[in-house]
Structures are given as structure tokens and as C-alpha cells.
């Protein structure tokens, strides 16, 4: 049986939180099916079994649920794209390759409430007539595979997976599949390639996975949090779920607060939550009373905002778009005035350079060039005319790469150079620049990846 799992927080939830997805996080043994069933587990699935596929999809559409992986594509629409009457088998694929720096929400869902993911998959499977589902988990989340495998085993034993589920004639099998440590495999088509046992590089789109996905068959591919949200939509109805959020974006969002905060952590907040309160109320403010300098709203691939740009900003898809950035995956990174923005740019670029799959030229060569250049700037060896060049090179990647990884590397870089130009200037000819206070990212000591010349 389950090893006893300690509850996540001994503290009660923050009063501003709207507890829904995280409602079982604080329960003892929360990952076990007994706890799950005792707290409303699989009730939504039973309800969905009474509904038609169209009704389920209609509820998801009404809910205004948008994909929680970062792109924010309306989930109901995506489900509707799957050709249910195709003679091919249909698949459910869960993107659990949570790798965006700053993001750590799917991990908690799988660790503390794995059955809610299975329930979401089952409901989606019912809606698109899928018989098999794969949970593609990043290799670094190895310990979660054990938790999920146990949950799957329990679900089989209780008749929620397998043949003739709950006597309804529905068949569904769920499998976990481990990635091997490539950020690129979080891109949906690269994920599918990897799932099929091939090299994890993206596919040409269209066709999109809904039409031609896993094993060339129609596939619903979404993020963990998205699937976990589906049972609540079925349970409370799409309308009630939509009302929790803002216009065109329903529900709550697990927000990961990281960086210079007194109380970093994962909080469940309604969409449209004000950034100011996010930092100073939920996050407990910035240590030492220092001032906010920069803000990443949804993982390192989003353009960075300055403190001024954060004024009056709320956490939802459209508000972020208006400020030229993205809500992304909900990985908030708060940086205070002690942060060296050149180091931030370097740390971000080092990540993307290391993770570039090498498929297309602008990303492969662009990230490498920029990493080398930013490294030089950080060492005080930058040249004045090169500051603008950093932005130019990033723009040569932007929108021209095969997948979004190039954009993910370019967007924060462009924003940092534009918004913190003076910090790059200050680093010129500053070989013995004073070491600034520790930033949010560990920068200095990791060696370049094996085989990479500087």
C-alpha cells in the first residue's frame, strides 16, 4: 500500500486562494485512492458517464478553460477538433514534461493528487472516444512516475481503468512514459515523437495533434493542470467554472511564486488576480523590504516586465498580452533591485542554448552565439556596439524558428536588453565588477555543457 505521504503545507491556505485543484493537497495520504474517493474522487467521472460526448465538450467550451501549459489555447475547442468518428484509434496524451524555469505546479498535482489527473483523462477519453492514454513525464520527475504508476494500479483495481469500466462498456488504459531530460519534448509534437520512440524534435504543423497526433492518430494532448481542471468543470458545470475567472479565461490557476519573496510557493488563485497583491500579500513581500526590479509572469520564456509595468497588472491571458508579455505556465519569478539583469539574461540564454534541440538553424546557432556573447558581457568583456546586437540577433530568431523554443529564448532577451540597457552599459570594461548580491538564478559556477567550446 501507499507509504504515508506528508501533507504539503502545515499552514492553512492563504485567505486569498480559491481552493479547488489543490483541495486535496493538505490531506494525509492524499495520493491514495481511498483519500481521493473519500473526498469526491471519480464523482465527476461517474457524472460524465451519464453525459454524451457532445455535452462534455460543450461544458468544457462554456467553462472558458484555456490550456495551462503556457499557450492558453481554449481546451474545449481543442477537444472539438478531434475527429471522433475517425476509424483510427484516438489517444489522450498528458503533457507532464513540466520544464519551464519557474514552473512547478504539475509536479504538485501529480504528487499529491494523481487520481484527479486520471479522472480528467477518463472524462476526456469519454468525450473523444479514446481507449488509451499516455502521461509523458519529464525524466527528472522520476519519483512521480512511481506515484502515478501506483495510482494507475489502484484505479485498475477499483475498476476505473481497464475493460468495461464501472460496467459501462467503456475501455481505457493509462500508461506513464518517461522523457529523457529534454525541454524540447514539452513541445507537443516533439513530445509525440519522443513518445513514439523517436528523436525528440518537433513536427511540421499543420496537421495538429488533434488530427494527426500520437502514432498518426487523432490525439487530445494537454497539460496536466488542464486535465485536472476537467473534473471540476463537469462537477460544477462550465458556467460556474467560467465565473471563477475572467472573461475568456475561466477557473483558477496554480501560480508558482519564485524568486525574491518571503513566502514563495504554489498558490491557487483565480485568473485575473492583481500582480501587486500577488507579490506583497500572497507572496509575503520582498525580503529586506527591497524594491521590485523585474517580473516574469509565466516562466522564463515570457518577456520580462519592469516594476513600473507591473502597476495595475492582473494575472490573466489578455491583460498580459496587452503589456506585451504572456501569462504562460504560471511560473512567476520576482526579482528585486539587487538582481544583475545581465546575469539573468545569461542564465536564461544558457538554459535555452542547452535545451535547443538543434533541428533548425536560427535556434541552434542563435542561442549559442547569444550565450557566448552574454557570457562575455557578464565577464565585463562586452563591447558597446554589441549591446544592440544582442537584441538584433534575438530578433533574427524571433518568429523564424521551427518551434516556439527560439521565441522563448528571444523574447526575454529582447525585453531585458531593451528595458535594462543601462545595466549592459555598466558592465562594459568592468572586468573586476563587484559581485552583486545573489540573484534568483544560480549563474556562476555551472560549467558549459560537455563538448561545447566557448
Amino acid at each position: 500500500m501507499f507509504a504515508s505521504h506528508p501533507p504539503l503545507f502545515s499552514n492553512p491556505p492563504h485567505p486569498r486562494e480559491v481552493i479547488m485543484l489543490s483541495k486535496r493537497f493538505r490531506l494525509p495520504n492524499s495520493a491514495s485512492i481511498d483519500t481521493f474517493l473519500a473526498h469526491g474522487g471519480y464523482r465527476s467521472f461517474r457524472k460524465a458517464l451519464e453525459m454524451t460526448a457532445d455535452e462534455i465538450i460543450a461544458e468544457v467550451k462554456t467553462s472558458n478553460l484555456r490550456g495551462r501549459g503556457g499557450a492558453g489555447f481554449p481546451t474545449g475547442l481543442k477537444m472539438g477538433f478531434v475527429p471522433r468518428n475517425s476509424p483510427k484509434p484516438k489517444y489522450i496524451v498528458v503533457n507532464a514534461d513540466e520544464s519551464e524555469p519557474g514552473t512547478c505546479k504539475d509536479r504538485l498535482l501529480m504528487e499529491y493528487d494523481p487520481h484527479s489527473l486520471l479522472e480528467g483523462m477518463l472524462i476526456a477519453a469519454r468525450a473523444i472516444d479514446a481507449k488509451k492514454g499516455y502521461i509523458y513525464i519529464r525524466g527528472e520527475y522520476r519519483y512521480l512516475i512511481h506515484i502515478l504508476d501506483r495510482a494507475i494500479e489502484e484505479a485498475y483495481r477499483h475498476g476505473y481503468l481497464g475493460r468495461n469500466i464501472l460496467g459501462t462498456g467503456m475501455d481505457f488504459d493509462a500508461y506513464t512514459h518517461s522523457g529523457a531530460g529534454a525541454y524540447e519534448c514539452g513541445e507537443e509534437s516533439a513530445l509525440l515523437e519522443s513518445l513514439e520512440g523517436k528523436r525528440g524534435v518537433p513536427r511540421i504543423k499543420p496537421p495538429f495533434p488533434a488530427q494527426v497526433g500520437a502514432f498518426q492518430c487523432p490525439t487530445m494532448l494537454s497539460n496536466v493542470e488542464t486535465f485536472c481542471s476537467i473534473p471540476y468543470i463537469v462537477e460544477m458545470g462550465g458556467k460556474a467554472y467560467a465565473d471563477l475567472g475572467v472573461e475568456k479565461a475561466g477557473g483558477t490557476k496554480l501560480t508558482c511564486l519564485t524568486g525574491h519573496l518571503n513566502k514563495p510557493g504554489v498558490y491557487e488563485l483565480p485568473l485575473g488576480f492583481p500582480v501587486d497583491q500577488l507579490i506583497h500579500d500572497v507572496g509575503g513581500g520582498i525580503p529586506g523590504g527591497r524594491k521590485l526590479k523585474a517580473f516574469i509572469p509565466g516562466g522564463s520564456s515570457c518577456p520580462v516586465l519592469t516594476a513600473k509595468e507591473c502597476e495595475g497588472l492582473t494575472m490573466d491571458y489578455d491583460a498580459m498580452a496587452k503589456r506585451g508579455t504572456m501569462l504562460g505556465s504560471g511560473g512567476v519569478v520576482v526579482m528585486d533591485e539587487s538582481t544583475d539583469m545581465v546575469k539573468v539574461a545569461l542564465r536564461i540564454m544558457r538554459f535555452y542554448q542547452h535545451e535547443s534541440c538543434g533541428w533548425c538553424i536560427p535556434c541552434r546557432e542563435g542561442t549559442t552565439w547569444l550565450r557566448k556573447m552574454l557570457q562575455r558581457f557578464d565577464e565585463g568583456l562586452g563591447r558597446r556596439h554589441e549591446i544592440a546586437m544582442i537584441g538584433e540577433l534575438a530578433k533574427n530568431m524571433l518568429g523564424r524558428t521551427f518551434c516556439a523554443l527560439g521565441d522563448a529564448a528571444a523574447l526575454p532577451t529582447i525585453s531585458i536588453v531593451e528595458k535594462f540597457y543601462d545595466e549592459f552599459e555598466r558592465k562594459l570594461n568592468a572586468v573586476s565588477a563587484p559581485v552583486p548580491a545573489p540573484g534568483p538564478f544560480p549563474v556562476l559556477n555551472d560549467p558549459p555543457p560537455l563538448g561545447v567550446g566557448r
Binding site: 538543434g358 538553424i361 549559442t368
Partner: protein, 692 residues
């Protein structure tokens, strides 16, 4: 035409079939959209990002290689944004690309050079240290220089999709991603070098050519490969009367971009140190070099003597010599020597096929048909090894047109992988096994049967009956061994048939009968080696041999004439599918003469030249066109390096087929009869060394 999509590129209103890619549509309209990874016929990559174009109502630049045209689409390739994108991508490409163009084999033929020249920046802003990896040798013929590689994956795709071998892959990721061979540090494959040819830069280079010359110092001579019967065009790079390189420079032959190891590298027999460079004559039981005039006089004298006393001649021709030489040789044998004791080594029963098909001239398939037909049945042949071009055509047909491929062989073959039905049969049971496929075959709208040497005689007739019973258009390919095996039959190099499959009336001796005839006075062997593993019964016979090397037969000769190889002469050859193509002389080998000239000089020496006519290839070909049925092929096609199919006979063949004489040598990729023995490349590669 109906259902065409209308769109504009750079303001020009164009039309194309739905599904046409923008890059193809532009190319057809003469608008260049640069690309590295896009390669017509291979799967799409979208990886190089060079083909970015502006499309109205699309916010981002689009890759023209993945974008199908759509009604009303407005594409621009000439905007500042597009120019800037191309420049930016090239700048990225050059960051880690070593600028060693002055010593790079690809210099002058490099697509990256061309693109940078046209679209790139004049100077580099890259001041970081380049990523370097040492060069690797993957096989005697394939070298890989990773830093030059731009990862367009053409090599990976052509090996996998084009060749069906899949020996190349990609390892690592990001900037250290690298093309890698299938055995870690070396390649085990067909060694065809397609990866080298298709590489747009100098990342993959040829072990046979590297660092030998600059491409612009060579003359490029397009001729036909002399090895197997498929008749691929190979372009020989010639400098200072030396063949430096074989490749497929303009892809204009029936083989398109295809070449196998033989076509690309195995020209090297031509300057093997054992090559004969002077006539040899037996003096006191030993072959000694003599002058041409001495040797010619001696042979002419002997021929005249034997002819005068009504002695017995035996003439054995070649399946590598040109149509002109074969025609001239049979004319010499029949008119001057007055004998039908004339034969060559036969490897496919084309006679039975022509007879069974009597009248249906269109039932002989061409290599192009193999790429177009809806269904192909391969019987009793391992095409990938024995007939690599036919295999390539069928594979491309399957990839591009989803052709149905059927296989009936005794052993597994490469075609199995993409066949709809791969049937194994016991030896000799091919037709019975084929019968079992009838329910599937009868549903095919059209078929091509490709059959090997075990289908001969009565079996060919049965196969044609089977084909006719399907009630669909059916074509056939009768497989034969060497570059002009088909031409040798067509030119009547047999005791029973004259040129054009007309009966000779009084059949003479076959090869085996000549060797066994104790009263043979003269054995004249032109480009063949019948005494390899056999002996001559007539111990006192005068043996004359024309060859490149001192073969087993030449060693037993009284006079040996050093002959030119196919790369040293002009003429025409006819390939396995009956397509006539022209050889073009690339080099001259010192001391040798073309077989045609040797035969002509012998005729002159005997005083018989007048009745044979001039021994120039063009004149003889004119005679062939005028007198051999089916060979009246359009001259401009042949002269401009094209291929024209012959339809050699229209009606019954009035002589018995000789199925008992038919045996294929079954040469694979790494053997090629006598020539293969003298090719260093074929012996140097791992796969060649493993040959039994």
C-alpha cells in the same frame, strides 16, 4: 485545366495544382526561393529556415517549403523583411561553419557559398570561438567533417528514404547535434555515396576525391556507367587525362540523382597498374610486348590462312562493348570469316520474352515506367544489390505514388520492407507462388513484372500468359547483367540470331560448344573471359583476345590486343530496359585502342575493310539505325545525352530460345565481373572485403 489554385508570387499571377508547395510553384515560375533542407522528392524538414517568405494576412514569415498554395494567396519573396531574414539565417549558419573554403572539396560547388554570395552579409559580426570537432572517416569512401555540417538532414533522408538503407542518423542536440553513422564510428551500408552527392556543403566528402583538385579545374564528361545493366549516367571529372571523380553532376540521366558505389567510384579500374598498354604476342611460349602493326599483321595472316583453308573460327563477344562494336564484330564474323560460331555470355531470356510478347512492343517497361506504374512485381531478383537503379525507381514510386510492390523471391530482399506482399518461394516455384498472389494482382490497374534469370524459356511464356490473364496493362523487365548485355543480344551476338532477332538460318556453335570443339582453329575473344574456370579443348587453336587486363583467357592467348574501356571510347549501349544511351570518351589510356578500331584494323589488314565499312562509332551507329529493327531511335535524343527505348522486334522470333545458356552472374554492389576485380574501391570498403 480545372481545379487549379490561383495565387500570386511577387505580383505575378500563377496557377498550380492544389497541394503544390509555394517553393515549387515559385521555382516553376522562375522565382528562386533559397533553401538547404528542402529537396524535391525527400520528406519535408522545415529545418533550415532559408525559404522564409511573406504571405499576406499572416503575421509571421512562412517557410515556403511547408506551405501549400491556397486560393488568393499573396506571397512576396522580394521584400526587405525577407532579405533580412535570409541574411540573418546565413549569418547564424556561418557562426560555427569553418570558413575553410580554400581547401574544402566543395568550394566552387557549395550551396552555402552560393547563398552567402547572393543573400548573405559581406562581413561577419561573429567574434566568439567556433565550435570545433575533428573530422571523422566513416568508410574508405565517406568522410565527415562535423563543423561544416549545417544539419539539413538531406543525407539522413536520402539514405533512409531514397536508398532504403537508413545508415545515418542524428546524435546529441543543439549546437553539438551531429550526423552519425549506423555503427557508431563507421558506416556499414551500400557505400553509394548518395549522402556525399546530396550534401549542400563540404561536410560529407568522398574518400576517392578529397583534396585531389578544385572542381573548376576538371572537365565534366557525362557518360554511361560500364558496370551493371541499369545504364546510369555518371559524370566523370577529368583533369590532365585522369578521371578524378565520378558523380551525378547534373542529374540529367535516367537515374536522376541516383548512383551506386560502382557508378560513383568504381571507374578506378581504368588506371589499374595491371592494365595492358601494348599488344602481346606469344614468342617461345611467353607473351611478349610487340608493336600494333606486328600484332595486327600476325592475326590478319592467321585469320586469312584459316579462312582460305576453310578452318573453324569461334568468336566470343562481350556484354560490355558498345552496340557499334558488337554489330561490327558480328558483321566481321559472318561476312569476313563466314561463320555463325558467334556467341556471348547470356544472362536473361529476352528472346523468350520478345517472342511471347510478339507484337506488343509497348509491353517493355522503361526505368521511368518503374517510377510511374501503379504496381510492380519483383520476381527472383535482389534488386537493391543487383539492379540498384531499378530498386531506387521502385522505392521512389512507392514513396511518392504509394505504388504497390510485390515480391516473389527465395530469400528476403530490401523490397520486402515496403511491399504489400512479400512472398517467399522454393527455388523454381516462382510462378506457382505468383499464382497465389493473383487475387491481389487482379485488382491492380496496371502492373510491371521484373524478373530475373530463373524465369526463362517456358516460364517466361507462362509469366506472359499469366500477365495477359489479368486483363490489365502489363509491362515486363527481363533482367540482364552488364552494361550492354541487352545490346549484345540486340546486335545478334549469338549463333542463332542476327541483329534484330532475325534467325541466322544456320546456327553456329555456342560458347560451351566452341570451347569443347576439338577442331577449332581460331578462338577470337573480344572483351570476355570464357576460360575463367574452363579450358579449351582444341589445344592447337590460335587464340586472339581483346581486353583491358591479362585475364585467364588472355593468358592463354597467342595475341592480346589492349582494348579501351567504356570510359575511353564513344558509342552507344543499351540498358536492361532497352534504352539506348551514348558513351562519351572521357580519357585516353596510353597504348590502347577501342575494340571497334581493332576489329576495323584487322579487317583492313586482311583487305576486307571495304565490305565492312568505316569503323567510326557514328558511322556504324547510322548503319545500326538503318538496318536493325527497333533501333531507329531519334538521333537528337541520343546525341544530347538522352535515352531512347528500342522496340527490337515486332513479331515472333524465328529461332529457338536457348534458356539453357542463360545464367546471371548475380553480381552484387561490390563485384562487377572482371572489371570489379581491378577496382580498388570495391575491394577497399568493408562490404566488398566481406564478399565471398
Amino acid at each position: 485545366m480545372a481545379n487549379l489554385v490561383k495565387f500570386t508570387i511577387d505580383g505575378r499571377e500563377l496557377e498550380a495544382a492544389p497541394g503544390t508547395l509555394v517553393i515549387d510553384a515559385a521555382k516553376r515560375a522562375g522565382i528562386e526561393i533559397p533553401a538547404f533542407c528542402y529537396y524535391e522528392g525527400l520528406s519535408l524538414q522545415g529545418a533550415c529556415r532559408m525559404c522564409m517568405v511573406e504571405v499576406e494576412r499572416m503575421p509571421k514569415l512562412q517557410t515556403a517549403c511547408t506551405l501549400p498554395v491556397a486560393e488568393g494567396m499573396v506571397v512576396r519573396t522580394d521584400t526587405p523583411q525577407v532579405a533580412q531574414a535570409r541574411k540573418g539565417t546565413l549569418e547564424f549558419l556561418l557562426t560555427n561553419h569553418p570558413l575553410d573554403c580554400p581547401v574544402c572539396d566543395k568550394g566552387g560547388e557549395c550551396e552555402l557559398q552560393d547563398m552567402v554570395f547572393r543573400y548573405g552579409a559581406g562581413e561577419s559580426r561573429f567574434t566568439e570561438i567556433k565550435h570545433h570537432v575533428d573530422e571523422k572517416q566513416w568508410s574508405p569512401v565517406v568522410y565527415f567533417d562535423a563543423p561544416r555540417c549545417i544539419l539539413c538532414y538531406r543525407c539522413v533522408r536520402v539514405c533512409d528514404e531514397g536508398m532504403g538503407v537508413g545508415a545515418l542518423g542524428v546524435v546529441n542536440r543543439g549546437v553539438v547535434a551531429e550526423i552519425a553513422p549506423n555503427h557508431g564510428d563507421h558506416l556499414e551500408c551500400d557505400e553509394c555515396g548518395m549522402c556525399i552527392d546530396i550534401c549542400p556543403v563540404g561536410a560529407l566528402t568522398s574518400g576517392a576525391y578529397r583534396y585531389k583538385t578544385r572542381p573548376w579545374e576538371m572537365e565534366h564528361v557525362g557518360t554511361i556507367c560500364t558496370h551493371c545493366s541499369n545504364g546510369c549516367r555518371t559524370t566523370l571529372g577529368v583533369r590532365n587525362n585522369q578521371i578524378i571523380r565520378g558523380n551525378n553532376r547534373d542529374s540529367s540521366g535516367i537515374n536522376g540523382e541516383f548512383l551506386c558505389i560502382k557508378g560513383r567510384y568504381a571507374f578506378d579500374f581504368y588506371d589499374h597498374p595491371d592494365r595492358l598498354q601494348a599488344p602481346l604476342m606469344k614468342v617461345n611460349g611467353k607473351l611478349e610486348p610487340v608493336s600494333w602493326s606486328q600484332a595486327l599483321a600476325a592475326v590478319a595472316r592467321k585469320f586469312s590462312d584459316v579462312k582460305a583453308r576453310g578452318g573453324n573460327f569461334g568468336v566470343i563477344g562481350s556484354n560490355r562493348t558498345t552496340n557499334e562494336e558488337n554489330f561490327y564484330l558480328q558483321k566481321f564474323a559472318r561476312q569476313v570469316l563466314g561463320t555463325n560460331n558467334l556467341d556471348h555470355r547470356r544472362s536473361g531470356d529476352i528472346v523468350s520474352l520478345l517472342d511471347a510478347l510478339h507484337g506488343q512492343q509497348t509491353a517493355l517497361a522503361t526505368t521511368a515506367d518503374l517510377y510511374q506504374a501503379k504496381a510492380v512485381v519483383v520476381i527472383s531478383a535482389d534488386l537493391a544489390l543487383e539492379h540498384p537503379l531499378l530498386s531506387w525507381q521502385i522505392r521512389a514510386n512507392w514513396r511518392h505514388h504509394a505504388a504497390h510492390v510485390y515480391v516473389v523471391t527465395t530469400e528476403p530482399v530490401r523490397e520486402d520492407k515496403y511491399s504489400v506482399n512479400a512472398a517467399r518461394c522454393a527455388p523454381g516455384q516462382e510462378l506457382e507462388t505468383l499464382q497465389a498472389l493473383r487475387p491481389q494482382l487482379v485488382d491492380e490497374p496496371e502492373l510491371i513484372f521484373v524478373f530475373g534469370d530463373t524465369i526463362k524459356g517456358e516460364k517466361v511464356r507462362k509469366l506472359v500468359e499469366f500477365g495477359a490473364s489479368l486483363g490489365k496493362p502489363v509491362k515486363y523487365v527481363c533482367l540482364v547483367d552488364y552494361a550492354n548485355s541487352r545490346g549484345a543480344m540486340d546486335m545478334g551476338l549469338t549463333p542463332e540470331l542476327l541483329p534484330g532477332y532475325r534467325a541466322s538460318g544456320m546456327p553456329g556453335l555456342t560458347i560451351a560448344e566452341m570451347l569443347a570443339a576439338e577442331d577449332l582453329d581460331v578462338l577470337w575473344v573480344v572483351g570476355a573471359n570464357p576460360l575463367a574456370g574452363a579450358s579449351l579443348a582444341a589445344r592447337g587453336a590460335f587464340v586472339v583476345v581483346q581486353d583491358l587486363f591479362l585475364t585467364e583467357t588472355a593468358q592463354a592467348a597467342d595475341v592480346v590486343f589492349p582494348a579501351c574501356s567504356a570510359y575511353e571510347k564513344n558509342g552507344t549501349v543499351t540498358n536492361v530496359t532497352g534504352e539506348v544511351q551514348r558513351l562519351k570518351r572521357a580519357v585516353q589510356a596510353m597504348g590502347t585502342k577501342p575494340d571497334l578500331e581493332i576489329i576495323g584494323l584487322l579487317a583492313r589488314e586482311m583487305g576486307e575493310a571495304a565490305q565492312l565499312g568505316p569503323w567510326s562509332a557514328d558511322k556504324v551507329f547510322a548503319e545500326i539505325r538503318a538496318t536493325v529493327p527497333g533501333y531507329n531511335v531519334p538521333l537528337p535524343v541520343i546525341l544530347t545525352g538522352g535515352a531512347a527505348q528500342t522496340s527490337p522486334v515486332n513479331g515472333r522470333v524465328e529461332a529457338p530460345a536457348r534458356p539453357e545458356l542463360i545464367r546471371s552472374a548475380r553480381n552484387g554492389l561490390f563485384s562487377s565481373g572482371t572489371l570489379g576485380r581491378y577496382s580498388n574501391v570495391l575491394h577497399s570498403v568493408l562490404e566488398g572485403r566481406r564478399q565471398p
